[in-house]
């Protein structure tokens, strides 16, 4: 570490530390995008379907993990039921698409419905703090998942199938949701936009309040800010990010099932964020890609894949407490600082 020298210490003062770390995240996301374009080119050349669609799914779950990181990493809220919003988005999108196969109608409906649904459930969840928050979010998700599981109009335990292939009209071109390369690139752009929106929001003064909430919630009111309003707003925002990611799921796979709302989905997202690096945003995307690929590869090799994933998770928590990003991001940040000087 060179940061011991006084030169670096002054450089430290010149740059906002978190701003630098965030810029390092942006660089990592740019690297991910470049790698994704390379991957898409190779996939297109080899006429691949499976890996492109697997990567698309990884990005969709990456968008979902992003929303978990907004809560966990930036606001200090551990939600154990966040799959509720992912599944909610998926179901709303599926129901709209079955009526009318319009991408924009589905997205509009998901946005509007999640705003209301996230606000109502957020009011309940945000009455409590800490471990109780984790338990209440878990509870709400279980209740909702069971309700869906037993509602015939929503397909009950069978889920909904027959969601049509959707043409996504972008004005200058139309992407079909079953075209492996095109839909992969579309999902990439979509998730990057979610990332940009989240990164922008967290960089505003509102984002600073969230940071303050995480560090010392009792002090925030003394500074003249409402903690309740900030917590509720970010909760709804995270719900919307999760739901918009979930809305892409039925377009890719053509079905939705109550398992999308189950604890396994919520738990996976938390594992994704921890492996990628809590509070880095980029880590959520990297974590999702790593976990999805690992699960697919190890799952084929052995039926004991859950043990392997479990050990990996423990190893990361013990040896890399800041996740993958904790190893890579400081190096990028150092280079950025060096470059700026």
């Amino acid at each position: 570490m060179r940061s011991a020298s006084s030169k670096d210490a002054s450089a430290f003062l010149a740059f906002d530390r978190s701003g630098l770390a965030m810029r390092a995240s942006h660089v990592l996301v740019v690297i991910l995008v470049v790698a994704a374009f390379g991957f898409a080119a190779v996939g297109a050349a080899l006429n691949d379907t499976f890996y492109l669609r697997l990567a698309t799914e990884a990005l969709i779950f990456g968008g979902f993990a992003l929303s978990v990181d907004i809560l966990l990493g930036y606001t200090g809220l551990l939600s154990l039921g966040h799959a509720l919003y992912f599944g909610f988005g998926a179901y709303v999108s599926a129901l709209v698409l079955k009526e009318t196969p319009s991408f924009w109608a589905a997205m509009g409906a998901v946005l509007a419905a999640t705003l209301v649904f996230g606000f109502i459930t957020g009011l309940i969840a945000n009455r409590v703090r800490g471990v109780y928050f984790a338990l209440v979010t878990f509870g709400i998700a279980q209740v909702a998942a069971k309700a869906v599981y037993n509602t015939r109009a929503l397909g009950a335990s069978d889920g909904l199938i027959g969601i049509p292939i959707v043409p996504i009209n972008l004005g200058f071109m139309t992407v079909m949701s079953n075209a492996p390369v095109a839909f992969f690139l579309f999902t990439l752009v979509f998730v990057i936009l979610l990332y940009v929106a989240a990164a922008y929001l967290l960089d505003t003064s509102f984002g600073r309040i969230l940071g303050a909430l995480r560090v010392n919630e009792h002090r925030v009111p003394f500074l003249g800010y409402s903690t309740h309003r900030a917590r509720l707003s970010i909760y709804v925002f995270a719900a919307i990010i999760a739901a918009l990611s979930g809305a892409l799921y039925p377009m890719l796979r053509g079905f939705v099932s109550p398992e999308l709302m189950f604890f396994t989905t919520s738990g996976n997202a938390v594992i994704t964020v921890v492996i990628g690096g809590v509070g880095t945003l980029a880590g959520a995307l990297y974590g999702s890609v790593i976990l999805t690929v690992l699960k697919s590869v190890i799952g084929t090799m052995t039926e004991h894949h859950l043990i392997v994933i479990g050990i990996l998770f423990m190893a990361v928590v013990i040896f890399l407490p800041k996740g993958l990003m904790g190893v890579i991001r400081p190096r990028i940040a150092r280079r950025l600082r060096g470059g700026a000087r």
């Binding site: 691949d48 379907t49 499976f50 890996y51 669609r53 697997l54 799914e57 599981y149 037993n150 509602t151 015939r152 009950a156 335990s157 069978d158 889920g159 199938i161 027959g162 079953n178 799921y249 796979r253 053509g254 079905f255 099932s257 109550p258 398992e259 999308l260 396994t264 697919s296 799952g299 084929t300 039926e303 004991h304 894949h305 859950l306």
Partner: protein
């Protein structure tokens, strides 16, 4: 001319070299089934059944001279995982056929994936009527009996034992519980019985005695229940304690009393009757050989999942040999109205909805054992073709 001659030689050489290689290429069958989690015991039976049949077929020369190769993937009883694994097998491994899905959600979702990939699948386990009913697919086949067949067999037997019976229904309060009760009620009322009441208890109820008052007042001759697991243990033992089991015929869904909870129910299970698609007691040479071979290979008894999965390999073999091809359209056409031999006897694949027609059995518990007390012909149990898509 010389050049042309060389070309011919080359062509000839490649034909000679590639022809035997093609014939020896294995036929790949993908198996997406739960190998971990709650449904792992079912996945285990599926695996054993498929492996036993594959071994037999391969030993006797394979299908059209090609060996069968099974490729297993764990679906964790989760449709999202199942679909991803199925796509891997279809697109990357280029499997010719796929099977193994257990929960109905997975079968429906994988069926749709198969339809979009232009491949065929069959389930050997899922029993939701919708799979070959309103959500049927031209690419999905079912070789096992659906819920409606179990219920029809049981209803036919009850109607014979107790004509114009008064029936009471007690189901678990969730979607599946309510739909099984509704199906049985419709079937038995069609056979002349009268319903005298129904009640739905929450899942995991500790106390069923609160329903016994209404039950007694209704004076039923038959009680139909579709509770499962530990709920059955509590329901039947509490009924025994209250002396309700005398003069009452207790019948139920096939999952109500199983080898897992029969020990805990004890004597209260005696007399419980249900309709099933398979029993190790089925008295035919094919089944006796199957049970003996299965035990020798796995040191366990086959259950209906093992038996139906075993039969599936012979179903596919018969279809491919009839079609003389593994191409989707040709195999699909060959599977229509196909008859093939299984441990349960001969089954027929109904062309209209891709549902197998098979004889159904009525089994009754006596001192901890299921005994076959009746058999209902395939045509009597199959029910109408409700598939409108093809």
């Amino acid at each position: 001319m010389f050049k042309l001659g060389k070309l011919y030689t080359l062509l000839l050489a490649t034909t000679i070299l590639s022809a035997p290689a093609l014939a020896a290429d294995p036929i790949k069958i993908g198996v997406v089934t739960p190998l971990s989690g709650t449904y792992a015991p079912i996945g285990q039976q599926v695996r054993w059944g498929l492996e036993l049949a594959t071994k037999e077929v391969n030993a006797s020369g394979g299908i059209m001279g090609r060996q069968i190769q099974l490729l297993f993937e764990d679906e964790e009883a989760n449709p999202s995982v199942a679909v991803q694994k199925a796509e891997k097998l279809f697109e990357s491994e280029k499997v010719d056929f796929l099977t193994g899905t257990v929960n109905s959600g997975s079968t429906l979702a994988v069926g749709q994936t198969a339809e979009r990939a232009g491949k065929l699948i069959a389930t050997t386990v899922s029993f939701a009527d919708s799979i070959t009913g309103d959500k049927c697919s031209p690419n999905v086949f079912r070789v096992n009996a659906r819920a409606g067949q179990q219920s029809a067999a049981l209803a036919a037997w009850v109607a014979k034992q107790k004509p114009k019976a008064k029936v009471y229904f007690l189901g678990p309060d969730y979607e599946m519980g309510r739909s099984t009760v509704a199906t049985f009620k419709r079937t038995i009322e069609g056979l002349g019985a009268t319903s005298v009441g129904e009640v739905f208890a929450p899942l995991d109820s500790k106390d069923y005695t609160q329903y016994f008052g209404q039950l007694r007042q209704a004076r039923p001759e038959v009680l139909y229940t579709s509770v499962a697991g530990n709920d059955t243990v509590r329901l039947l033992t509490q009924m025994q304690d209250f002396g309700l089991l005398g003069n009452l015929l207790v019948v139920g869904a096939s999952g109500t009393v199983t080898s897992q909870n029969i020990g805990a129910i004890g004597a209260a299970a005696d007399g419980f009757t249900t309709g099933v698609g398979y029993s190790t007691q089925i008295d035919n040479p094919g089944n006796k050989k199957f049970v003996a071979d299965f035990k020798a290979a796995t040191k366990a008894d086959p259950d209906l999942y093992g038996a139906d999965s075993y039969g599936l390999i012979y179903f596919y073999k018969a279809a491919v040999e009839k079609a003389q091809s593994t191409a989707t359209d040709k195999v699909r056409a060959a599977m229509a109205d196909l008859k093939w031999a299984t441990p349960q006897g001969e089954k027929t694949m109904r062309a209209g909805d891709h549902q197998a027609i098979q004889p159904m059995y009525v089994v009754r518990v006596n001192s901890g054992k299921f005994n076959i007390v009746g058999e209902v012909g395939g045509d009597e149990a199959i029910g109408p073709d409700e598939c409108k898509r093809f």
